[in-house]
């Protein structure tokens, strides 16, 4: 189960899908967060720009202010301390609003207040992590802060639910202004020197996102906002992403499983059919509904293999049936003849005739078995040939001499035109081939016909052709004549004592010599059988030298 292709595909599919989805999710999450931050920063920057321009208007020359935060604008954290401060000089600031009295800075109260103020200042310097400047000299002009913020901007910073906060420092880190709920932010000096380019910096602190703009004359404007809502939104976005990813993964795995199952089902169906195909049942074929797909191609190839298998099996079956038939017939003659002869006392001539019948049948069986064994050896790839260099013309002439008496008996003219040609081969077997072809040409010829044997060289091959002017072979039968046990004229073959294997053996022998045998025939005109053998290497060389 675990090792099955389907489960492995599924597992790999799941792993790859998980990896892809994870990477995708992380990238999307990160990009989304960056976009969100970018939007926040843009908003903060825009606000900071406005505030910076205001600060420029309030402090046009970049002078350091000795203005101190009015007591009615305390920071959130330092409220308690500021209230102490307030209790010290509240009356002064209330009666004479700070912006209107440059001659009376915050710190210039009466003696007690001053000492108190000094004490607080020391305390401030001691407690705060950023330095406060020494009091400015009295001559520094103090700029009023009417219309410090545009109307619509105040809504951004006022109230408990104010989304933004700001803080404005001078270049010494003295808080000039800050929104009511602005947290205390450590002063970070970004001032690089007079007339340097304005500097902007973005920072994240806890749940806060802040931008600090430093003007060319050293004022620092910080605008910040809480990003806890954004973080929460981002987290919920992350969960949504994870949920979607999980859903896609589940769908993908289930869909992949369905797909792989569907694909593998046809493979399973193919293997079931392939398994069911046996010697008993070779006719079944795989359904070729999808021949375009790779599986269809595989099925097609398998079907073609089955076709060849079936053909080979049928040929084998037919060959076995034919061989068995051919062997049984002479056996039946022997068995029946002996049974008949022994049934009652016979005359000597009858015994002789019976024995002659048995002898004929026995010889036929022997010749058949020899032929079958020979063919079996060729089929098995052990033709057992005794190769030697030989003259094909000599072999042909020997066969012609062997069959001259048979030809004379049937009044057939036997002519031979043989050019000496050297080939490498088995002398006996090649002689057998020529004899066989000649015997066929003589036997299946008309009385008074003729048979021509030619040994010649054509296109670098040695050709032995045996042609007759007999009745010929019809076009339908011609392709079958090299098949085992195929007989063109059964009655005549039987009468001649042929086994039906002669031409099959000729073909096997010639092919084992690397040659080929072909038959040409025209009905009523005659038949030509042509054996084409490769010349021996020496002959080839001789010709090249010439």
């Amino acid at each position: 189960m675990i090792r099955s292709l389907r489960w492995r595909i599924q597992a790999w599919h799941a792993v790859v899908l998980t990896a892809v989805l994870s990477i995708f999710g992380v990238v999307v999450y990160h990009l989304q967060w960056q976009t969100r931050l970018h939007q926040i920063d843009a908003e903060l920057n825009r606000t900071a720009e406005v505030l910076t321009s205001r600060v420029r208007r309030l402090f046009p020359k970049g002078q350091v202010s000795n203005w101190r935060p009015p007591m009615e604008l305390p920071g959130v954290v330092e409220r308690e301390w500021l209230q102490n401060l307030t209790s010290a000089n509240l009356s002064k600031t209330e009666n004479e609003p700070t912006p209107q009295s440059p001659q009376q800075p915050v710190v210039s109260a009466d003696e007690d207040e001053r000492s108190l103020s000094e004490e607080f200042r020391v305390q401030r310097i001691g407690q705060w992590p950023f330095p406060y400047a020494e009091p400015r000299d009295e001559t520094t002009p103090f700029l009023a802060d009417e219309q410090w913020l545009p109307e619509d901007f105040t809504a951004l910073f006022e109230g408990e639910e104010a989304p933004l906060h700001y803080t404005v420092w001078d270049r010494d880190g003295v808080i000039l202004r800050k929104s009511y709920f602005a947290p205390l932010v450590p002063f970070k000096n970004l001032f690089k020197g007079w007339n340097s380019m304005p500097v902007q910096e973005v920072q994240s602190r806890g749940g806060l996102r802040e931008v600090i703009h430093c003007t060319s004359f050293g004022h620092h404007v910080l605008v910040g906002r809480s990003i806890q809502e954004d973080v929460a939104a981002q987290h919920s976005f992350g969960w949504l992403l994870a949920a979607c990813g999980w859903a896609v993964l589940t769908l993908g795995v289930v869909g992949g499983g369905w797909l792989s199952g569907r694909t593998l089902r046809s493979i399973t169906a193919m293997s079931v059919i392939a398994k069911s195909i046996s010697g008993e049942n070779l006719s079944q074929r795989i359904d070729l509904a999808e021949t375009d797909s790779e599986l269809g191609q595989l099925a097609l190839v398998l079907n073609q293999t089955f076709d060849r298998l079936q053909l080979a099996f049928q040929q084998q079956l037919r060959f076995t049936a034919d061989a068995s038939h051919e062997l049984r017939t002479p056996l039946a003659v022997i068995v029946s003849q002996t049974e008949l002869t022994l049934a009652k006392p016979r005359l000597t001539d009858e015994y002789r005739a019976a024995l002659e019948t048995c002898q004929r049948a026995g010889r036929r069986m022997r010749s058949l078995i020899d032929s079958l064994l020979l063919l079996a050896r060729f089929d098995a790839g052990h033709p057992d040939l005794q190769h030697s260099s030989l003259d094909l013309a000599e072999v042909a002439n020997e066969s012609v001499e062997l069959l001259r008496s048979l030809a004379a008996e049937r009044q057939i003219t036997l002519r031979s035109v043989a050019t000496p040609l050297s080939v490498v081969g088995d002398r006996d077997r090649l002689g057998q081939v020529v004899t066989n072809l000649l015997a066929n040409a003589i036997r299946y010829n008309q009385v008074g016909g003729r048979v021509d044997v030619r040994v010649e060289r054509v296109n670098g091959d040695a050709i032995v052709s045996v042609s007759d002017n007999g009745i010929g072979i019809s076009a339908e039968e011609l392709p079958h004549i090299f098949e085992r046990f195929y007989r063109v004229d059964k009655a005549r073959t039987r009468a001649e004592g042929g086994t039906g294997l002669g031409l099959a053996i000729c073909q096997s022998v010639v092919e084992a010599h690397g040659g080929q045998i072909i038959a040409r025939s025209e009905p009523q005109q005659g038949t030509t059988l042509e054996v084409r053998l490769p010349l021996s290497p020496e002959t080839g060389k001789d010709v090249q030298n010439l």
Binding site: A321, S324, H325, E326, L327, R328, T329, P330, L331, A332, V333, I334, V335, S336, Q337, E339, L340, A343, K344, T357, R360, A361, D489, K490, A491, R492, R494, A495
Partner: protein, 217 residues
């Protein structure tokens, strides 16, 4: 009884024909399918022994064509032994199937059975009054005494007994008792009949003048 043997192997044809002749049958031989079909259609045979692998016309075709006109019992005698061949042979209209090599005694027994069945006789021994005909031993007994008959006389008795209570014409007798090699004179049948009457009693065979003979009872 007259039998046609269609077989392309000359030696086997010879053996089978001789065997059947020695068993008292009249035998015609054919060496190929066309000849066999022609003879089978022309003459009234009691049985046909048919090979399947035949030149010119194979055994199955012979059988199919023969069955369109005649119901002569056919025994297929072949070297093809596969089940599909047997089934095909029997389905083509053969009555029996025997595979080579075979025992001659089995061939004879099967032919006897075929002839008997086609004549409507279920058993091998036919009893007519006090006469008993054993078709296996080819003997006739009367009151349990063996009656010596020549093969032709026996064949005539058997033929009439097989078709008892039916008229058997002289032509039928000729067709069934003599093969194509015989050139018997027509009155030879009368000679055989009178010999049978001498041996088995005058009333055993009834003559219908100008029509034929029959065995009552």
């Amino acid at each position: 009884m007259r039998i046609l043997v269609v077989e392309d192997e000359p030696d086997l044809l010879q053996v089978v024909a001789t065997t059947l002749r020695e068993a008292g049958y009249a035998v015609d031989a054919a060496a190929d399918g066309e000849d066999g079909l022609f003879k089978a259609k022309t003459w009234e045979y009691d049985a046909i022994v048919l090979d399947l692998n035949l030149p010119k016309l194979d055994g199955w075709s012979v059988l199919q064509r023969l069955r369109t006109v005649k119901r002569t019992p056919v025994l297929i005698l072949t070297a093809r032994d596969t089940v599909s061949d047997r089934v095909r042979g029997l389905n083509s209209g053969a009555d029996d199937y025997l595979v080579k090599p075979f025992a001659l005694s089995e061939l004879l027994a099967r032919i006897r059975a075929l002839i008997r069945r086609s004549a409507g006789q279920a058993v091998a021994v036919i009893e007519i009054g006090d006469v008993c005909i054993d078709t296996v031993a080819k003997t006739v007994t009367r009151n349990e005494d063996l009656v010596p008959l020549t093969p032709t006389e026996y064949a005539l008795v058997e033929l009439l007994a097989m078709h008892r209570q039916k008229l058997v014409s002289r032509t039928t007798i000729y067709d069934h008792l003599f093969d194509e090699g015989d050139d018997s004179l027509s009155n030879l049948v009368d000679v055989h009949v009178s010999n049978i009457r001498k041996k088995l009693g005058r009333e055993f065979v009834t003559t219908r003048r100008g029509q034929g003979y029959m065995i009552q009872g």
